[in-house]
Each structure stands twice: as structure tokens, then as C-alpha cells.
């Protein structure tokens, strides 16, 4: 996704960033992956309802533009750390939904061979160092990965995704401080969906914008509308450029919304149906992106329908692959605890 090409037409200079920066095929691929994330989440939810997936899961429906926009300037070698709401990040970073479903189904063909599940989904081959079950747990780890990149001089940048809830954890503050004093190539991405489980940011957070906290660590703090792909991608490009140039970290606050509850136990008592409905009807990231693509003549309804159909088939095949895959043998329970068996 990192090969950004300009449309190279000066007459397009008033277009939003993404439509100047990416070619039509890339933009269509972004739409495809936003659909892939949404349909994956729906497929996972459906499989959970049918009892094919146990445990719990945290769905990112409504946050697709944020995951895709941030990952656009990243190469396959660049790394991310993700969160409990990490399925979208994993797909945006290039994972195969077959192996993701297999992981959720607890199968040996899953990315974590059935040991991690939804909350630890990872794809190390594509630089995804893993979702994390601990709020803010991945933030210092991302800073460590950025320290490696700096020491090894391998040119990698690292993105740490986290939610609004994480910005009140000590790990967030310690990690941002260290990234700044050591000028590390890391981008902190706070996907602020308004609620840490049930507690709104207004009730939990002393600053109006989480990006305001960047000032305390002498780094740029950027606020973007996380439901507008182009805005997110533009901020990410600037932050990645800064990181690669050795100028240090950036904090991006991507304001977005999750349609589903926090997890499967959520009764949605802390927000109104009207509020949820308003986001779905008026600010849906896929709807907004499609409208732009159509307006700029990049895709038509037929093209959109073809993408939907292809995604539907990919999701179906992924679920079938997961169903057909073998489960781990209980005799292998202690595999992977240590590198070399005791």
C-alpha cells in the first residue's frame, strides 16, 4: 500500500489529499479493504453468534477509515502494535482473512496457531507485532521496536494503535516521553471512539482533545476526522515522513466511533440509540469514502457492487477455511511457552 503515486495533474490540486496522492487503483483497493474489514467483523460476529467462536471479541465496525488511512504510508517492513480492537489494523496491514478466521476458530492454521485468538491477533510477516489484551500494553513495546529500528538503522517506522482509554494509563505517558527524548521513529495513533468501555472521554480525560497531550511531550499533536479516509491518510503520511527523517514521534488523534458495544457483554446503556444511529446514517466511513470516489469519477455503482461481491466471496472462503482447519492437539499444550523445550 505504500507506493503512493500522484495523479500528477495540477488541475487536481484542490482535491483532498488522498485523491491527489493515490491512483484510482489504489483508491479502489482501499475501498475493497474497508469492506473487507467490515465484512470480516460481521462474519466474526455471526460466527460467534452461531457458537463457532468462543470467548469474546471487540469489533471495529465504524472505524475502518482510521485503520486504512494510517496504514497507507507503511511498507510491509514497517511495524505496528495493535489493540484488543485490532482486527481492522491487522487487515489494513496486509493480513489474510483466512488465517485470521482460522485463529478466531482456534485452529492450527491461524496466525497464532489457535493460542491467541481475537485479542492477540498478529501477522508478524507483515509487521503486525500483535493486538494486545492490556490497554496501553503495546505502546511501550512500539517504542522499543522504534528503538530497534534506530539502533539497527533499518529505516523502519512503527505505528502504535491504541484507544482513548489508553491515554489515561501510565504506560502511555512513559512511552511518549521516552519516544520524544530519544527522537524515535514511532507514530502514536489514538483512535478515540468516544468511550473507554462505558466511560466517555469527557468523564475520564482531563483534556478536551487527547492530541493536546502531545504538547507535554514536545511532539506534534494532530487531530483528524477518523471517519474520513483522506484526512487520516494525510496525517499519517506527514507523521511517517517526519519519523523516517529522524525528527521523532507524532501523536495522531483519530476521532471515530464504534457501532457495536465494547465487547460481547455490552448492553449499550451508556449511549443512546439516536447517537449510534446518527453516526451510522450520517458519518459512516465507507459511505463517505464511496461518495467521494463517485464524485471524483473513480468508481461507479457497478464497480462498488463488484468489490462487495468479491469481498463477500473472500469472507465466505475464509470462514470455510477456518471450519475445515484442524484444531491443535492437547498434547502440544506447552508448545511455544519457551523457544527451546526444557
Amino acid at each position: 500500500m505504500a507506493t503512493a503515486r500522484k495523479l500528477a495533474d495540477e488541475t487536481h490540486s484542490n482535491l483532498p489529499f488522498a485523491y491527489r496522492h493515490y491512483g484510482p487503483d489504489e483508491l479502489k483497493e482501499v475501498l475493497r479493504k474497508m469492506y473487507l474489514i467490515r465484512r470480516f467483523e460481521e462474519g466474526a460476529e455471526d460466527s460467534y453468534m452461531r457458537g463457532l467462536i468462543h470467548g469474546t471479541m471487540h469489533l471495529s465496525i465504524g472505524q475502518e477509515a482510521s485503520a486504512m488511512g494510517i496504514c497507507m504510508p507503511l511498507t510491509a517492513e514497517d511495524q505496528i502494535t495493535s489493540t484488543h480492537r485490532g482486527h481492522g489494523h491487522c487487515i489494513a496491514k496486509g493480513a489474510d482473512v483466512k488465517r485470521m478466521f482460522a485463529e478466531f476458530f482456534g485452529k492450527t492454521t491461524g496466525y497464532c496457531k489457535g493460542r491467541g485468538g481475537s485479542m492477540h491477533i498478529a501477522d508478524v510477516s507483515m509487521g503486525n507485532l500483535g493486538a494486545n489484551g492490556i490497554v496501553a500494553g503495546g505502546i511501550p513495546i512500539a517504542v522499543g521496536a522504534a528503538l530497534s529500528a534506530k539502533k539497527l538503522k533499518n529505516g523502519k517506522v512503527v505505528v502504535s494503535f491504541f484507544g482513548d482509554g489508553a491515554n489515561n494509563e501510565g504506560a502511555f505517558h512513559e512511552a511518549l516521553n521516552m519516544a520524544s527524548i530519544w527522537k524515535l521513529p514511532v507514530i502514536f495513533v489514538c483512535e478515540n471512539n468516544g468511550y473507554g468501555m462505558s466511560t466517555s472521554t469527557a468523564r475520564s480525560t482531563a483534556v478536551k482533545n487527547i492530541a493536546d497531550r502531545a504538547a507535554a511531550y514536545s511532539m506534534p499533536g494532530v487531530i483528524v476526522n477518523g471517519n474520513i479516509f483522506s484526512e487520516v491518510a494525510e496525517a499519517s503520511h506527514a507523521a511517517v515522513e517526519r519519523a523516517r527523517a529522524g525528527e521523532g514521534p507524532t501523536l495522531i488523534e483519530s476521532k471515530t466511533y464504534r457501532y457495536r458495544g465494547h465487547s460481547k457483554s455490552d448492553r449499550n446503556r451508556y449511549r443512546s440509540k439516536e447517537e449510534i444511529e446518527d453516526w451510522i446514517s450520517n458519518r459512516d466511513p465507507i459511505m463517505l469514502f464511496e461518495a467521494d470516489l463517485k464524485e471524483f469519477g473513480i468508481i461507479d455503482d457497478k464497480g462498488i457492487e463488484a468489490i462487495r461481491e468479491a469481498v463477500r466471496a473472500e469472507i465466505e472462503a475464509g470462514i470455510e477455511f477456518a471450519k475445515a482447519s484442524p484444531s491443535p492437539d492437547t498434547a502440544d499444550l506447552q508448545e511455544f511457552v519457551y523457544t527451546e523445550p526444557a
Binding site: T81, Y111, H120, L129, N132, P140, I141, L147, S148
Partner: protein, 332 residues
């Protein structure tokens, strides 16, 4: 005339091991609070910053949780960090990264990654630093699958086990008793390793096995020397690693002596002594026992400031002598 074997202090041995590791491998670097020009709270890193520079002997802010997490992240992505905690008590501030992240990352990701981080913890009482700077928390970490936890008792082992830890692909936690830092002993030149997961018999004997850890190995040896004058022949096993524990050596020793005394500084209950005792109770060595198993551990109290109270908190040589004598003489 033979040259005297070279002697180094325990802290010099650790410093030498870190220098050798850094010489040999560019990926090895040190992180910790005040380990640079200050030389570390216990002067273990000493002047290494002058030799290797501030990029490889990195002072961190006072951020134990974040710092430990950075070390974990660096280990996950190709580096070989050695992270120094100023006091082992501060592990409490970093438990999240140690227990939830470092220990589990490889497992959770189905073996796709490893976390070759080494963490060093100056531990134990005896320095008058009171309740928040004197604890022995090794059993806490020993309870976590995915970690390896070691307690070298001699300068020789401190160097060899640290070099083994740096070479280990998994996270290794090293508990170093602060009162051992100045202890001198023979330390070979150059690179060598002492295996993790292998106990060492420090003294052979036939009447009683003492399984001891860290500084208690030396106290047990002193007690054994005293009791040899009374015709009591004690075997002292230096456990060295608490996870993975060398159960075979303990079992073999108890089969030979038929009596077991566990001596460790950490709070007595729910600790290493319970694990060692249960190892015997669950093994065929149980049938060899001629006396109940006895544990001598730390008192059920925070470590106090007053020096006499502080001493009374942990087993001392006379306590070991009495317990061992009573066991062998059948008074237990």
C-alpha cells in the same frame, strides 16, 4: 609457581559479563536508571558507559513500566537488551510488561516471535533500606510460565549465568542479592556460560540436604562447616535457577541424605521452599525421608528499618545450625 586464580567481586563479574556480551554482539545494550555516568545504584555498570558510549549504556527516565516495555519491544524486534532495575522491589511497577507481555508474547503469537530480554534485579535485605527496597520477589516471577528466573550465588555463576541469559532466546530474570555484590571469588577470564536450569551441589554430605538460594547458600555452607565439627555431614544444594527448577538434583540428593531443609530469604509462605518441599513429597524421594521437611524463610512481615529487627527478618547462620541439628538429631 602457579598464579593465584583470578578473583573478582560479584558486581565486577556481572560487569565483565555485560562487557563481553556487548563486545561480542552489537545487538546487546544496557538500559536502566542511572546506569551511565552514575554507574548504577550499586555500581554494577560502573564505567561501562565510557567504554561503550551512552547509546549502548542507556540511562532511562524513572519509568520502570515504560522502560521495561521498551526493552521488551526492542527484544521482540532484533535487539538483545539487558534492563537493570534499580531495586527488585520496582518490578512491582513493571509487572504488566514482565508478566503479561514478555512472558506471554511468544506463546500468544504461536511461536512466531521470541523475546530475548534480560532483566536484572538487585534484591534482598541487609542494607537498612527498609520495606520498599529490601524485598525478595523472585517467587512472584517464578510463578509465570514463559519466564526463566535465576539467582546466581557466586561471582563465577553471576558471570556465567548472565552470559547464558544473554544467549537465551527467552526472557531471563536475574535476581542478584545486594549483599553479594562485594563478595569475591574466582572468575575465569573470557567467555563461558553456566547453564540455566541446573542446580549445583556446593558441598557433599550424607546426613541432610539443605536446598538454598542466593546469599543463603553461603549461610548454609557456614552452618554446614560449624556442624561438621559435631559430626553432622551436610549436603548443600545451590538451586541457582528457580524456573525451570532442577528437580532431579534435589530428588537425588534427598534420596541420599533422607532429610531436607530449605533455606531462602523471601517470605516463607507460598514460596520456593513450598515448591522444593512439594517436589520431594510428590517424588519417590518421599519414601526415603527420615524426618519432616523443614523450611527456613523470611518472616511474615515487611522488612523493617532497625538493623536488629532487619536481621531477625531473614534466616541467619545460627538459625540454620539449630534447624539442621534438630533435624539430624531427630528432634523434629
Amino acid at each position: 609457581m602457579d598464579a593465584m586464580p583470578r578473583e573478582l567481586s560479584y558486581s565486577q563479574a556481572i560487569q565483565e559479563a555485560m562487557a563481553i556480551a556487548m563486545e561480542a554482539d552489537e545487538r546487546v545494550f544496557l538500559m536502566g536508571e542511572d546506569i551511565g555516568v552514575y554507574g548504577g545504584a550499586f555500581q554494577v555498570t560502573g564505567d561501562l558507559v565510557e567504554r561503550f558510549g551512552a547509546d549502548r549504556v542507556m540511562d532511562t527516565p524513572i519509568s520502570e513500566l515504560g522502560g521495561a516495555g521498551v526493552a521488551v519491544g526492542a527484544a521482540l524486534t532484533g535487539m538483545r537488551p539487558i534492563f537493570e532495575f534499580q531495586f527488585s522491589d520496582f518490578a512491582t511497577l513493571a509487572m504488566e510488561q514482565i508478566v503479561n507481555q514478555a512472558a506471554k508474547m511468544r506463546f500468544m503469537l504461536g511461536g512466531e516471535v521470541s523475546v530475548p530480554v534480560v532483566m536484572r534485579f538487585p534484591a534482598g535485605s541487609g542494607t537498612g533500606a527498609a520495606a520498599q527496597h529490601s524485598q525478595s520477589l523472585e517467587a512472584w516471577l517464578g510463578h509465570v510460565p514463559g519466564l526463566k528466573v535465576i539467582q546466581p550465588a557466586t561471582p563465577h555463576d553471576a558471570k556465567g549465568m548472565l552470559l547464558a541469559a544473554v544467549a537465551d532466546p527467552d526472557p531471563v530474570m536475574i535476581f542478584e542479592h545486594k549483599l553479594l555484590y562485594k563478595m569475591k571469588g574466582h572468575v575465569p577470564e573470557g567467555h563461558y556460560t553456566v547453564p540455566i536450569g541446573k542446580a549445583e551441589i556446593r558441598r557433599e554430605g550424607s546426613d541432610l540436604t539443605i536446598v538454598a538460594t542466593s546469599i543463603m547458600v553461603h549461610k548454609a555452607l557456614e552452618a554446614a562447616e560449624t556442624l561438621s565439627g559435631e559430626g553432622i555431614d551436610i549436603e548443600v544444594v545451590d538451586l541457582r535457577t528457580i524456573r525451570p527448577m532442577d528437580k532431579a538434583t534435589i530428588i537425588e540428593s534427598v534420596k541420599k541424605t533422607s532429610r531436607l531443609l530449605c533455606v531462602y530469604e523471601a517470605v516463607k509462605t507460598l514460596g520456593i521452599g513450598a515448591e522444593v518441599s512439594a517436589t520431594i513429597a510428590e517424588s519417590d524421594a518421599f519414601d526415603y525421608l527420615d524426618a519432616p521437611i523443614v523450611r527456613l524463610g523470611g518472616a511474615e512481615t515487611p522488612v523493617p528499618y532497625n538493623p536488629e529487627l532487619e536481621k531477625a527478618t531473614v534466616p541467619q547462620v545460627p538459625d540454620i545450625v539449630t534447624a539442621a541439628r534438630d533435624l539430624v538429631r531427630g528432634k523434629r
